[in-house]
C-alpha cells in the first residue's frame, strides 16, 4: 500500500509539472494580459542599443557603396564591368534574383499556408516572415534591373498604351515574370499591411511624438468596430487562400525562364515544382535565421518566440529538404537517362568541372546537413545549431542557382565557344542586396510591431488545457 500511495503522490506532482511544462513550452498556453503584451512589443520596438545603430550604420554604408555606387558605375560603363560574356549571358544577377524570390516565398508560405491550415505555432512570427517576403522581393526586383543591359528603358516591359501600338510580348516568359512578380509584390505588401492595421492602432494608442503621427496616419483611423473586424477578417482569409497560388505561379514562371529555353540542362519539365520547393528550402531556413536573430537581439522576444517555434520550423525545414532531394533526383535522373550528349557533358561539367566542389557542397548542405541534424528534437530547438543549418542551406541554395545559371551556361552545343565565368562587379552588388535587405529589416523592426499582438491574444483565447482521464492535453477551439 505504501508503495501505491507513494506512486499516487508522485503522479500528482508530475501532473503539475507536466502542466507547468506545457505552459512554459507553448506561448499559446502562457497567456499574459493584453496590456502587458502590448507594452512588451512597444518596448522591443523602441529599444535600440548603440550596437543596433553601429550595425545599421555599417549596413547603410555598404548599401551606399556596394549597391548604389557600383550600380551607377555599371550603368555608366555597361555590363562589361560585370562578369558576363558569351556564352554566359546570365550571371550572378539572375542567381540573386532567383535566390531573393526564393527567400520571399517563405513569408507567404509561413503566413498564408499555416494560416489556411490553422497551424497555431505560426501566430507570433507571421509578420516577421511577411516582412521577408516584401523586402526579399525588393532585392529580387533590383537584381533583375541590374541584369538588364539598358535598365533606363525597363519600363518597356510594362503593358501601357503607347503611340506605337506595341505592347509587351506575352510569348516571352520574361513578360510573364514581369506580371507575376509585380502581382506578387503588390499582393504580398497588401497582405503584410492588412493584419498590421490593428497593431498600428495599438501602437498609435500608446506612443507619443513623431511615432504617434506616423502610426496615426498608418492606422487609418482603425478602432476595432464589428464592421471593421468583419471586413478585415474576410480580406485576410481571402488573401491567405489566394496568395498561395500566386506564390506558386511566381516561382514556376521563374523556372520557366530556364525550362522554356532549348538548352541542355535547362529544358526540364520538372523545373516548376523543383524551383518552388527550392524557394521554400532557402526561404524557410531564412525565416528560422531571422527569428533566431530577432529573438537574440530584440527585447522581450524570448517570450514570443520560443524553442517550440524553432522546433516547428526545423521540422518544416527537414520535410522541405527531403522534398528538395526528391525533386533534385527526379530532375537529375531523367537528364542523366535521356543520354543526350550535350546534357551528359553538362552533368559531367557540374560534377567534375572546376566548380565541382560547389555541386558537392550543394548536396551536402542541402541534404546531408539537415537530414543528419534536424531529426533530433533537442538539436532543432538549439538556436545556434538551427541558425548554422539555416545558413548552410541558404549557401547551398545559392550554389544551386549558381550551378543552374552561369555554370550550366558554360556548356552549349558548340565546344568552340565554351567559356568560364569570372564575376566582376557582381560581388559588391551581391553584398549590396544582402545589406539592403538587412538594413530594411532592421529599420522595419524598430518602426512596426514585429509581433502581431492581436493574433497572439486571439490564439491564447482559443487554447486551453483539458484533462482526458489523467492526461492533461492541449485543446484548441476553432473561434471562427
Amino acid at each position: 500500500m505504501a508503495v501505491l500511495a507513494n506512486s499516487a503522490t508522485h503522479a500528482h506532482t508530475s501532473e503539475q509539472d507536466h502542466e507547468a511544462h506545457l505552459r512554459e513550452e507553448h506561448l499559446m498556453l502562457d497567456p499574459r494580459p493584453r496590456g502587458e503584451m502590448n507594452a512588451m512589443v512597444m518596448e522591443s520596438m523602441q529599444t535600440t542599443s548603440w550596437k543596433f545603430w553601429v550595425a545599421a550604420g555599417i549596413m547603410a554604408i555598404l548599401v551606399a557603396v556596394c549597391l548604389f555606387y557600383y550600380w551607377g558605375y555599371m550603368i555608366a560603363n555597361g555590363l562589361g564591368v560585370a562578369g558576363v560574356n558569351r556564352p554566359i549571358y546570365w550571371g550572378i544577377f539572375l542567381v540573386n534574383t532567383v535566390f531573393w524570390i526564393g527567400i520571399s516565398h517563405a513569408g507567404t508560405f509561413v503566413s498564408a499556408l499555416l494560416r489556411v491550415f490553422k497551424a497555431e505555432f505560426r501566430r507570433p512570427f507571421t509578420r516577421a516572415a511577411e516582412l521577408m517576403t516584401t523586402f526579399g522581393l525588393v532585392q529580387a526586383g533590383l537584381s533583375i534591373f541590374m541584369h538588364m543591359g539598358r535598365v533606363w528603358l525597363s519600363y518597356w516591359l510594362a503593358p501601357y498604351p503607347n503611340q506605337r501600338g506595341l505592347w509587351p510580348n506575352f510569348h516571352s516568359p520574361l513578360a510573364w515574370d514581369f506580371l507575376a512578380i509585380n502581382t506578387y509584390l503588390l499582393s504580398s505588401t497588401m497582405y503584410l499591411f492588412l493584419p498590421l492595421i490593428p497593431d498600428l492602432a495599438m501602437a498609435r494608442d500608446r506612443s507619443t511624438g513623431w511615432r504617434k503621427t506616423l502610426y496615426r496616419i498608418l492606422a487609418l483611423g482603425f478602432r476595432g468596430t464589428e464592421g471593421e473586424w468583419t471586413h478585415l477578417r474576410f480580406a485576410m482569409n481571402l488573401f491567405a487562400f489566394a496568395i498561395l497560388p500566386v506564390m506558386f505561379s511566381v516561382h514556376t514562371i521563374v523556372s520557366w525562364d530556364f525550362a522554356a529555353a532549348m538548352r541542355p540542362g535547362w529544358s526540364s519539365t520538372i523545373f516548376g515544382p523543383y524551383f518552388v520547393i527550392g524557394a521554400l528550402q532557402s526561404g524557410l531556413s531564412a525565416v528560422a535565421m531571422v527569428l533566431i536573430v530577432v529573438r537574440a537581439t530584440m527585447k522581450n522576444m524570448k517570450y514570443f518566440i520560443r524553442p517550440e517555434h524553432l522546433d516547428g520550423l526545423g521540422k518544416l525545414m527537414l520535410i522541405i529538404s527531403m522534398s528538395w532531394a526528391y525533386f533534385f533526383f527526379n530532375d537529375y535522373m531523367v537528364q542523366w537517362y535521356n543520354g543526350d550528349k550535350w546534357t551528359d557533358a553538362l552533368l559531367h561539367f557540374h560534377e567534375e568541372g572546376p566548380l565541382g566542389w560547389m555541386w558537392y557542397a550543394m548536396l551536402i548542405f542541402n541534404v546531408a546537413v539537415p537530414w543528419l541534424t534536424l531529426w533530433n528534437k533537442n538539436w532543432r530547438r538549439n538556436p545556434t545549431l538551427l541558425f548554422t543549418v539555416g545558413l548552410l542551406v541558404n549557401i547551398a541554395m545559392w550554389f544551386e542557382r549558381y550551378i543552374i545559371v552561369p555554370t550550366s551556361l558554360s556548356i552549349n552545343r558548340f565546344p568552340f565557344t565554351y567559356q568560364f565565368y569570372k564575376p566582376g562587379v557582381e560581388i559588391p552588388l551581391t553584398i549590396g542586396t544582402i545589406s539592403f535587405f538587412i538594413l530594411l529589416y532592421m529599420l522595419a523592426s524598430r518602426l512596426i510591431p514585429l509581433v502581431p499582438v492581436w493574433e497572439v491574444q486571439e490564439g491564447q483565447m482559443a487554447h486551453s488545457l483539458r484533462k482526458f482521464g489523467k492526461e492533461t492535453v492541449v485543446t484548441v477551439s476553432d473561434l471562427e
Binding site: L166, F170, T183, L186, I217, W454
Partner: protein, 174 residues
C-alpha cells in the same frame, strides 16, 4: 443626433459584455443603436449580435472579373494592334495567354479586396471618433446610442453587469 447621447461602456471580459448586449436589448435598444469595439476580432455570434454585412466578397469578385477582362485585353487584343511573328508562334498564343489571364485575375481580385476593406471601413478617416485607448489593451467597449432619459437606467444596468466604466463617449482625435 442632437437629442441622442452616446455612452461608452467598457468591459474587461467577454461574458459580461455579451450579457450587457442582451440587457440593452431588453431595455429597448435596437441592435442598430449599439456597436461593439474590441482589440481582437470577436465574432458576432459570441456577442449575440446580428451578422455584419460586408461588401468585400462582392468587390473581390468584381475585381477578379475586372482583372480577368484586363488580362483578356492584354492577351487577346494587344497582340493584334501590332501583329508580329515570333518563332512561328500564333499571334495570340494559347498557353501563355492562360498565364496572363491568371496573373491579372489574381491581381484584380487582391487589389479590390484590399480596396474593399478601405471602402467598407471608410479608411482612411482621421476625424475624431468615440474611442478609448484601453480597447487595444483587450477591453471590449459597447458604444450605446440612447435617449438622454434612458441614460441613468443604462448606466446603472451596465455597472451592475460589471462594466469597468460607463461614460459619455467623446469624439477624440485618435
Amino acid at each position: 443626433m442632437t437629442d441622442k447621447n452616446m455612452l461608452l461602456a467598457v468591459f474587461s471580459d467577454l461574458d459580461p459584455a455579451a450579457h450587457a448586449v442582451e440587457k440593452l436589448r431588453e431595455l429597448g435598444l435596437g441592435d442598430e443603436h449599439l456597436n461593439v469595439i474590441s482589440g481582437i476580432p470577436i465574432t458576432e455570434a459570441m456577442m449575440g449580435r446580428p451578422h455584419q454585412w460586408t461588401n468585400v466578397p462582392r468587390l473581390a469578385l468584381g475585381g477578379a472579373l475586372g482583372g480577368f477582362l484586363l488580362g483578356a485585353y492584354l492577351a487577346f487584343v494587344t497582340p493584334t494592334t501590332y501583329p508580329l511573328n515570333v518563332g512561328g508562334q500564333p499571334v495570340i498564343p494559347g498557353p501563355p495567354s492562360v498565364v496572363v489571364l491568371f496573373e491579372l485575375t489574381m491581381l484584380g481580385m487582391l487589389i479590390s479586396t484590399f480596396v474593399g476593406v478601405f471602402l467598407d471601413s471608410r479608411f482612411p478617416s482621421y476625424t475624431p471618433k468615440e474611442y478609448v485607448p484601453e480597447i487595444s489593451d483587450g477591453r471590449i467597449a459597447i458604444l450605446i446610442e440612447c435617449d438622454p432619459a434612458q441614460e441613468v437606467a443604462i448606466e446603472s444596468a451596465m455597472t451592475a453587469l460589471g462594466a469597468e466604466s460607463v461614460k459619455h463617449a467623446e469624439a477624440q482625435t485618435l
